[in-house]
Symmetry: C2
Subunit: 345 residues, 2 copies
């Protein structure tokens, strides 16, 4: 691999000039720039990322902290992030955050503190106070996506509104016995996480319907965010003497589990049971699943653009203080009615 010196020698200028000509930082005459470029091209020179970032303090690399890399949602968001970062020359390094405490310590105490990235994107993980403090002490721009922490600037969907919308859809169809399958943390602390917000929206919509005079039976069933978890929970629910006529599942994958449980028990959808999910999953159309699409790819693009803005990279947004638009729960979502929801028979 050729070095800066090789290019300098070939072009007959100093290394300083080569650096300036190639990076575009600092002045260079048009003519010199051309000569340097030609020499670099000729030699196949590419600046060493590590030398460059040691000298400049810029890593041109963004860290992305993800839970569950193999989940469709995160993979899709990641694809969205990459699609906006790559054209600006930023690489992405991946940090997988699991529930394993030793691994989390390794991540927060070591991996993230090695100065490898210019900024961090954190995707819907729940962080302890100590972890949030760790993140702040990094001295880097950190942008969250769906992170339930007011301290971190971040983008998110208004998941309470999402839960409300899903529930209202079922109520509007005439359902009066509705179950919500999801998660809910009511451990004293202010619960801002996505599952709890969705459940809150469910509760709110039910309360509003009751206030308006409807008699609504509402149940909440806990299940983890997987197909099989929801399938088990739904199986139990549907074998009760008086099963609900509609289920709001907290994610599309959970909704698939509900569909499977209904099929297992010989219930027809939407004849015997209406089902609605959340996400806009890849296969939702295949299942004809009514869902609330939250455009995960676009979310990735937005959060990617947000870090670029925080770093002062790119177009008009450069340098703009990103706080204002970032702390809002402003990401779009949209009800997609399909064949798994209908009026109760």
């Amino acid at each position: 691999m050729p070095s800066l010196d090789d290019v300098a020698r070939a072009a007959g200028v100093s290394t300083a000039t080569v650096s300036r000509a190639l990076s575009g930082r600092g002045r260079t005459s048009e003519e010199t720039r051309e000569r340097v470029r030609a020499a670099a091209e000729e030699l196949g020179y590419v600046a060493s990322a590590t030398a460059s970032s040691l000298a400049s303090g810029r890593a041109e690399n963004i860290g992305v902290v993800v839970p569950l890399m193999d989940r469709w949602f995160f993979a899709t968001v990641l694809d969205g992030i990459a699609s906006v970062l790559a054209p600006h020359g930023y690489d992405i390094t991946l940090y997988n955050l699991t529930d394993d405490q030793a691994q989390r310590r390794r991540l927060f105490d070591t991996a993230l503190r090695r100065g490898r990235v210019d900024a961090l994107i954190v995707l819907s993980v729940e962080l302890s106070d100590a972890e949030v403090a760790r993140l702040s002490s990094l001295g880097l721009p950190v942008v969250g996506l769906g992170v339930p922490r007011a301290e971190l600037p971040g983008l998110r969907v208004d998941d309470t509104a999402v839960g409300r919308l899903a529930t209202e859809h079922l109520l509007a169809l005439g359902h009066r016995d509705i179950a919500h399958i999801g998660l809910s943390r009511r451990d004293g602390r202010e619960a801002l996480d996505i599952p709890t917000r969705r459940r809150q929206g469910f509760d709110d919509a039910v309360a509003a319907a009751r206030k308006a005079g409807s008699t609504v039976t509402a149940r909440f069933v806990e299940a983890d965010f997987t197909v099989s978890g929801a399938r088990r929970a739904a199986s139990a629910l549907l074998s009760e003497p008086q099963p609900p006529t509609a289920v709001f599942a907290a994610s599309d994958e959970m909704a698939y589990g509900v569909l499977a449980a209904a099929r297992d028990r010989g219930l027809s959808v939407p004849g015997d049971l209406s089902v609605i999910g959340v996400d806009g999953h890849d296969l939702a159309a295949l299942f004809d699943l009514t869902t609330i699409d939250q455009f995960p790819h676009a979310q990735g693009e937005r959060v990617g653009a947000a870090v670029l803005a925080a770093l002062g990279v790119g177009g008009v947004d450069a340098g703009r203080p990103p706080e204002a638009p970032l702390t809002e729960a402003s990401l779009p979502f949209h009800l997609v009615p399909r064949a798994t929801t209908a009026p109760p028979s």
Copy 2:
């Protein structure tokens, strides 16, 4: 962020000693090592990744080249890779390889040549000769997974055998009119890519059955590797006057498309049509889909272990020349019979 100097001062030793004590490279007295560790701990010191890699030539970072980051298969493989690399302190930087030529040039001519990674994992992408040459000129260990290139050491499944196994399963059930939905490149060049190999297996199995005296009708239908692509292709196929009694889809996601097409046309599965896929997809159990599982998570673990071995990291394998086991098509796969395949009625 504290630096090496700070630690050296606090521990009352030279920076050289700190470096040795903390990295474990070179001799240090037990006592000094402890003192240095304590000082580092106390200060919260973590070595700068960029300075360290500039000085040592080791980046402790592995590049992973992926097509289609949002595909379940690749996300799962990636998760497997991360699970073996992270415990060894290796980070992962992601390089998304699309079909966009400009983007590919940027990747091969610049991004990969910046010296950011110690080794590269390349996941089932098809590379031009120039790109393979680029990869070799990097002077780094490169390990492929499902890359159809003899020049690159790599792991792969014997996809011809996979295609044969799927087809034999249908033949063994008694099907004599079988279609394969997939891809096949017959452009003169030796076609070693996964889709073509699977089709080759299909052809081989059919030929063998004929040789053994069976009268078999076999058709090949081209479709891209998506649910909707396969759905369209299957729709056309199933509306022919004499549709096949069984379909071998080249991936599980394609099989989902076939199931949807059958449902669209009111055909029952497996009553009117048997369907088999390949992958061992997340949702295959949900669909009761017969498939050939290829254990993608384990594939990721294997290829992760292979690069570690190539770098001489970790246990017994360190330094072992990885060529021999790596060029074989030795990754396991397994038929998982479920409810979408049965004898023809």
